[in-house]
């Protein structure tokens, strides 16, 4: 592996493979943060996208996907990308063994980004556990667009609340929830969602976290007629759209469900469209996966919000 080696195309909307120098690796409460240098990935990344990092744990073959938590774009040599991760398995444990100046092999940025509203609307960003990570990147971006961002950050307990201080700095308001009550409200993000959305006059909701949380948020938003975009997590073999292992069932106009690849057609989906119930799928002919996304009924339509369907 050669430091600074980069493969890919010059178009800004394509991902690259880069051999990146580790700039920092530190604990963040219960999590770890890894910063690595990559001008190309930093320049091309948008909130909601992820990177695939090669890990060196014994027998590990596949890369590991991580949401981009933040990028800094300070000229070609200082551009860094941050990811935040929970060390719970061999691959993530291996990442904790990296030192500053070590090299990591990264592919990215991958997947779809959160669509940004094309109208002035108040945004509510909901992050669960390490799922809060991409919300910081999104909040930065919304601030740059002059949009109001409120946050709900939830976790099992205080040490799993990511960067509480940063959350306060970056958002118009932040509400913390923990299941054990060690920080903020005791409970889950959905327990406070309605109150926060009402008091912040939320026009659109963004969420990232464990899929059960995303499901609960999506269902609550549907009840509240709030547009909602979620970044899902599904096991991925390739992360680049070629293996079809990462599919999510997404419901179309005709009510039928199609298997969409969350690495290339996602990870960001309209939460109201995900067929959360369709976990078991019949292996039989079904409709063709070629229809454009359709709008759910909501206060501001998706068309109004992000222009295209």
């Amino acid at each position: 592996m050669r430091r600074g080696f980069v493969q890919g195309r010059s178009e800004a909307d394509t991902p690259v493979r880069a051999i990146c120098e580790v700039m920092a690796r530190r604990r963040e409460g219960a999590y770890w943060q890894l910063s690595f240098s990559s001008p190309e990935i930093a320049d091309r990344a948008r909130p909601g996208q992820f990177v695939e990092i090669a890990v060196g744990s014994p027998g590990a073959l596949l890369r590991r996907p991580f949401s981009i938590a933040r990028v800094s774009r300070q000229g070609a040599f200082a551009s860094t990308v941050d990811v935040v991760f929970d060390a719970h398995g061999p691959g993530t444990e291996w990442l904790t063994s990296l030192d500053v100046h070590d090299l990591v092999d990264v592919v990215g940025p991958l997947g779809t980004a959160f669509p940004l509203p094309q109208r002035k609307v108040s945004c509510l960003l909901i992050g669960g556990g390490y799922g809060a990570a991409p919300m910081y990147f999104l909040a930065d971006e919304l601030a740059r667009q002059g949009l109001r961002a409120d946050m709900i950050i939830g976790a099992a307990s205080q040490e799993r609340i990511l960067s509480a201080i940063e959350a306060k700095r970056i958002s118009a308001s932040v509400t913390f929830t923990t299941e054990d009550g060690t920080l903020g409200e005791r409970g889950r993000v959905t327990d406070v969602l309605e109150d926060v959305a009402r008091s912040c006059r939320t026009g659109v909701v963004y969420a990232c976290g464990p899929n059960p949380m995303l499901r609960a948020v999506s269902e609550r938003c549907r009840e509240l007629e709030l547009p909602v975009q979620v970044a899902v997590e599904e096991h991925m073999a390739c992360g680049v759209g070629v293996c079809f292992t990462c599919v999510m069932p997404v419901r179309a106009k005709d009510g039928r469900v199609r298997m969409k690849r969350s690495c290339i057609e996602g990870p960001v989906f309209n939460g109201a469209r995900i067929a959360w119930d369709e976990t078991r799928w019949r292996n039989e002919p079904d409709v063709l996966d070629d229809e454009p996304d359709e709008q759910p009924v909501q206060r501001l339509t998706d068309a109004e919000l992000w222009g295209e369907g």
Partner: protein
């Protein structure tokens, strides 16, 4: 595609001192009558429609693109989880998610054709007649230079047993496809049989112009904590470097028994050394599957590295190495 710039070309070109210039190396191979610029192809189901990887590099640099198996009707495939990582490998159970032959012809093929790729169309079915019909619709399609018959599909007419496990049923499918085909036909076999040579003989007798060896091995993984199979389908296909020794053995056994049958070697190819290993075992072309998941550039890299590997050793054509096992 205009404006393609490789930010840092990864072509290793340090061969000039001891060997021959890289430009003097000929990578072209003839595969059952198909002229390929080089022996590196994709493995079916590991390259989607082709466009996904074209975001990374120009996929026409590959010898051929073997596309994901196509069925008559569209299929949405199996529920997740569809994959599980295993030591140096992975299990998958996708369930042949694909848009169906008509949509593929309408949407995916024109793109590949427009890019100028050589396409080997993989076809799958539930019955002999389904294979036949898919093959029929693939007639006369310019970019399609070959058909690959994925025999690792359950035969609904025979209690769901996989075609590839029976020499006879495999032969029936191949005969039906060969009748329709206007391009060379490859039969893709599984190693999960008692005697691969018998199956190979049966399908070549039935009209296969070549063979692809091997498909995934049937495997299973169980989460020790929950007791749940790691795949929703319970069983799935094992691929990746873990299976390479099994794939090389299959290629060598068949190439030894049927030396005139061209073989696409497949199973765990990761490095240029693996490409040479399969070639020496008897393969004419080498298909890369799971490694694309690990490194999206692997196909492009292998073409470049194969050229410089040969150049450094003063070997002018890859065909010189085919079947060259030293006793």
């Amino acid at each position: 595609m205009p404006d393609v710039r490789r930010i840092d070309p990864n072509v290793v070109d340090t061969a000039r001192d001891t060997g021959i210039p890289v430009d003097d190396v000929e990578l072209a191979v003839e595969l059952a009558g198909i002229a390929l610029d080089n022996p590196i192809t994709t493995a079916s189901g590991c390259f989607a429609s082709g466009a996904e990887i074209d975001r990374f590099y120009d996929v026409t640099e590959l010898g051929a693109v073997v596309v994901k198996s196509i069925t008559l009707e569209p299929r949405e495939g199996l529920p997740t989880p569809r994959m599980a990582e295993t030591p140096s490998g992975m299990l998958n159970a996708i369930g042949l998610q694909n848009p169906g032959i008509d949509a593929w012809l309408e949407r995916d093929l024109p793109w590949l054709q427009g890019r100028g790729a050589k396409v080997i169309a993989s076809l799958a079915g539930k019955s002999v007649e389904e294979y036949r019909e898919v093959a029929r619709r693939l007639r006369g399609r310019g970019a399609v230079v070959g058909l690959e018959v994925n025999l690792s599909c359950p035969n609904v007419e025979h209690r769901g047993l996989v075609f590839a496990c029976s020499p006879d049923q495999s032969a029936q499918v191949v005969a039906a496809v060969a009748e329709e085909a206007d391009v060379p036909v490859f039969a893709k076999l599984t190693s999960d049989v008692t005697d691969i040579v018998t199956v190979a003989r049966s399908v070549t007798d039935a009209g296969a112009d070549g063979l692809t060896l091997i498909n995934t091995l049937l495997g299973m993984s169980i989460d020790p904590e929950t007791g749940r199979p790691r795949l929703s389908n319970v069983y799935g296909g094992l691929s990746g470097p873990a299976i390479r020794p099994v794939a090389v053995r299959n290629v060598h056994q068949v190439a030894t028994a049927l030396p005139d049958v061209p073989i696409i070697g497949c199973g765990g190819v990761r490095t240029v050394a693996d490409v040479v290993e399969f070639t020496r075992a008897g393969a004419t072309a080498v298909a890369v599957g799971t490694s694309t998941f690990v490194d999206p550039f692997v196909g492009q890299t292998l073409v470049a590295e194969l050229r410089s590997w040969l150049a450094r050793r003063g070997i002018r054509t890859i065909t010189e190495l085919r079947g060259k096992v030293v006793a």
